[in-house]
């Protein structure tokens, strides 16, 4: 075996270890979701009898379908608002000179570090008074707030990458600031905005603490919270299969996203990190 072949064999092993490490728990929950109740506790890594019964089961109950609707609706709305507000602020941060910019950056950094549990108690109380408790807006509001720093941070890094000269060129070409933004900057920033949208969506999709704290019924409970309240079909049955199936349903779309937009997500996650 020559050195080259040995090297590539070495890399194959290393890469294989990395891939297995990353995918093991995902495969496990997938395997569980396809097991029928009788083999659920056999500990086998590959289901002996494949079944879709767990999936049929959860989609039969409004407990899950409603939670899925809540998850999607709340995450999409919160993402849209956060990205819209974030785009405006990030453009200003990256491109304009104005007093108070540092304050904005400091403030969003502070919120990025903020422990959500510290906000749960006051928000719980305030939302009960305002009638927002256990409603969509009751979750959308904290989600978009906590994802705003992420959005501003990522987007301003994307905006900085757009050459400053392009905007000057547009202005010399006769564009107003608004036209320069709309015709030149916005089309170039679109991929960055999209990437930020994915990151923010993953952030909202992932939340658990707010979801269990600020909801009490299926009216606004999202899937992660609903899973935690799943009960078996009978009193003596663990809801393992249902939980596994529900977990797969909210995992697969994200994994597909990640597969499709791998490069962009890496760019988004690390944007600005190198400037530190």
């Amino acid at each position: 075996m020559n050195a080259n072949a040995r090297r590539s064999a070495g890399w194959t092993v290393v890469n294989l270890v990395v891939v297995l490490y990353a995918l093991f728990p995902v495969w496990w929950i997938a395997a569980l979701s396809f097991k029928d109740p009788s083999t659920l506790t056999d500990g086998d890594f590959v289901p002996r009898r494949w079944t879709l019964e767990n999936y049929r089961g959860i989609f039969r109950t409004s407990e899950f379908t409603r939670a899925l609707l809540n998850s999607v609706g709340i995450a999409v709305i919160a993402t849209t608002i956060a990205v819209a507000l974030g785009t405006m602020a990030a453009y200003a941060v990256a491109r304009l000179r104005f007093p108070g910019k540092r304050l904005l950056i400091g403030m969003s950094l502070l919120i990025a570090m903020f422990p959500p549990i510290s906000l749960v108690s006051p928000l719980f109380d305030i939302e009960r008074v305002l009638g927002l408790f256990d409603t969509w807006p009751g979750l959308i509001i904290p989600y978009m707030t906590f994802s705003l720093p992420l959005a501003i941070y990522t987007l301003s890094a994307f905006f900085r990458e757009i050459p400053w000269d392009l905007e000057k060129a547009a202005r010399v070409d006769g564009a107003t600031p608004w036209q320069a933004f709309r015709l030149v900057i916005a089309p170039l920033a679109a991929p960055g905005v999209f990437t930020t949208g994915i990151l923010v969506f993953i952030f909202c999709w992932n939340d658990f603490l707010f979801a269990i704290s600020l909801t009490s019924t299926r009216a606004a409970r999202t899937v992660p919270a609903a899973i935690a309240f799943f009960t078996g079909s009978s009193q003596f049955q663990q809801p393992t299969g249902s939980i596994a199936a529900a977990a797969m349903v909210i995992t697969v779309p994200i994994v597909v996203f990640v597969l499709l937009f791998q490069r962009r997500i890496v760019a988004g996650l690390t944007a600005g990190a190198v400037k530190g």
Binding site: K168, V172, D173, L188
Partner: protein, 387 residues
Amino acid sequence: MAELVLDGLTKHYPDGAVAVRGVDLTIGDGEFVILVGPSGCGKSTTLNMIAGLEDITAGTLRIGGRVVNDLAPKDRDIAMVFQSYALYPHMTVRQNMGFALRLARTDKAEIARKVEEAARILDLTDHLERRPAQLSGGQRQRVAMGRAIVRAPKAFLMDEPLSNLDAQLRVRMRTQIARLQRRLGTTTVYVTHDQVEAMTLGDRVVVMRGGVVQQVGAPQELYDHPVNLFVAGFIGSPAMNVLDATLENGALRTALGELPLPDGLRQQLERADAPRRVVVGIRPEHFEDAALLEHPRGGRTVTVGVEVVESVGSDVFAHFTVGTVGTVGAVGTVGAVGTVEGGREMVARIGTATRAAEGRPLELWVDTGRLHVFDPSTGATLTRPGR
């Protein structure tokens, strides 16, 4: 097309830094003017102020007789070529070139006609539907030029438009730009740090340093009569040799030996009330291998120890070092001239027939009639021809 008048144009930044200090300049209709200087000299800031991309702190700017200080770039009717070209990456060449016309709500057919004409002039017709990323560096540069010319603006502003090209292409594009400008006759302000571009392109050259205009003039005038040590050192390649000297009995005593002054120069120095300590400047081509001259007229022959001989085909450069006498410091602060430990590096440009060799002494003839003499304290020239 229009006349550009800069009257005391000044730029302060909020942090107190002064980028441009009172630039007065009148650029005639159709004139090609070069702003040149080392980086940070204020040339790009000046250009940006003309474009309206930077605010003017003080002074006035007129384009075609109209004060435009407070007009947005879009209302000034100027076109700009950027160093990075600043092509819109999401638009085709055609869309890039027609963008300004589109913003001005020009008729579609009219845009197409103008873009195609510009493309023809710049040999871009085959690339109109491509995007900038699919073009070579030279083609991108031409698109940037095309974007400027389709508009037929009052003036072209060019910010180091050739500095991203390789050496060969740069020379070719330089000629093209000169030809294009003559053909269109559009007033052009061109910023560069490359003195060769400055010398070859412009009708007039403005040398700037530290935000202050040092000298304005035709290229040859700058070369023959630099007003100070900075201009003398900046214009010309290789740079002018400078030496400390003392003025005694109508001759300059230098580390190179005593250089007698011809009458003309002596009168100029007297008129300028020259101090005793001066700095003398000698262009490399004002040396010659004494062995190649049959009848040297005037001048003086000195002996130097040649260290390096470089032949570039048409010429030979002989490098040598001379010791220093007197103060080097004064010159060091005024001129951009290299000094070495215990001496001053000098270079002579001599005929190819020379037999100069490294490590051997060489008899050099100095054309003393072409010497430049400067005041070491101010750097200003003392040898301005009387008028």
